[in-house]
Amino acid sequence: MNCKEVQDGIVDGNMSPLAHAHLAECTSCQAVAHDAEALHAGLKLLAADAPPEASWGFAGRVLARLDEKPTRFFEPLEVIGRRAVFAAGALAMTLLMLAGFSIGGALGRDVRESLSLTRNGTPDTAEVLLAGGVDENEELNVMSELVNGGDPR
């Protein structure tokens, strides 16, 4: 028998003569058996605890609640929790969308305005750039012009 088989027997308190023979020789399994015995003793101590008795009038209190509308355990808290999460989520989405619109609008306006001003009164360049109506080399040239104050290299 190997240690695993013996230790499975120890766990269930079901030891064959062969397992006992192995145990007598194996210090590793002896340590497991020792702890299993301690654990079992601890469980017996717990089992000796008497469960609480129903307090006086318990049945009467149950009967008084028989016609209550059934609710799930912790349901009020769950409902409040769910509503709070949905409300917070909806609020966050709304704020994000509003922020997205205003930032996007402001950025678009700022870019158009700055491009128009940089090109010294020739907004057509900016409009062409924004519209993507230039090829890659032209776009680089235009960007260089803008960065270097209208002085292409």
């Binding site: 499975d8 766990v11 015995e37 301690a38 469980l43 089992a47 318990f58 009967l63």
Partner: protein, 196 residues
């Protein structure tokens, strides 16, 4: 815990009347089974403070589900199923709290060395209390399935057959669950003693 012989004519009449809305008949059933329900809930949850509230909930659930009781099992077994399911709900609800409260990390004063642990089960009440406390914590930390099957077998003293009837599982399945639960608990116990 052995199933009381409760399917007598009187009990069947209480059940029949309770199904028709008789509070008095249901009260008689509560009186008969309250000790059993208290015991089950205490064994499974280990939470003395909550036993009465949880028991009330169990009886209320049973009353509302009375129409579904078809006497294929005894009333006690049927009621025990409701109690166990309610315990599962409670254990799941309190899982996070238990995990935090019952952590062994950083706890050194409660440690027992392997050499001490057997002695703790002996006549020294202080060490016995320590061992009892450690095992109680191990049970609280255990997964719900382990805890239920261990509580029914090791604490409530039910047979594998009784557990299989209450949990509506095959006897072989109960045995496998018990083996795994014991093994995991022993591993936890050894790890804890080793300082992990």
């Amino acid at each position: 815990m052995a199933e009381p012989v409760g399917r007598d004519a009187q009990e069947l009449e209480w059940i029949r009347n309770a199904k028709q809305g008789s509070h008095e008949a249901f009260g008689a059933l509560v009186e008969r089974y309250q000790r059993r329900v208290f015991s089950l809930i205490y064994r499974v949850t280990g939470d003395r403070e909550q036993v009465e509230d949880l028991s009330q909930e169990v009886f209320l659930k049973a009353y509302r589900a009375l129409d579904s009781y078809n006497q294929t099992a005894s009333f006690g077994t049927w009621l025990s199923r409701i109690a166990i399911n309610h315990c599962y709900d409670y254990l799941r609800q309190t899982r996070g709290t238990r995990g935090r409260l019952e952590s062994f990390e950083g706890e050194s004063e409660g440690k027992l060395s392997p050499a001490d642990s057997l002695a703790a089960s002996g006549p020294d009440p202080e060490r016995a209390a320590l061992l009892r406390d450690i095992v109680s914590k191990l049970l609280r930390r255990a997964p719900e399935d382990d805890r239920v099957v261990m509580a029914l077998k090791e604490l409530d003293g039910m047979s594998v057959e009784e557990i299989s009837e209450i949990l509506e599982m095959k006897i072989g399945t109960v045995k496998v669950r018990l083996h795994r639960a014991r093994k995991r608990m022993l591993e936890d116990f050894r790890r804890m003693q080793a300082g992990g």
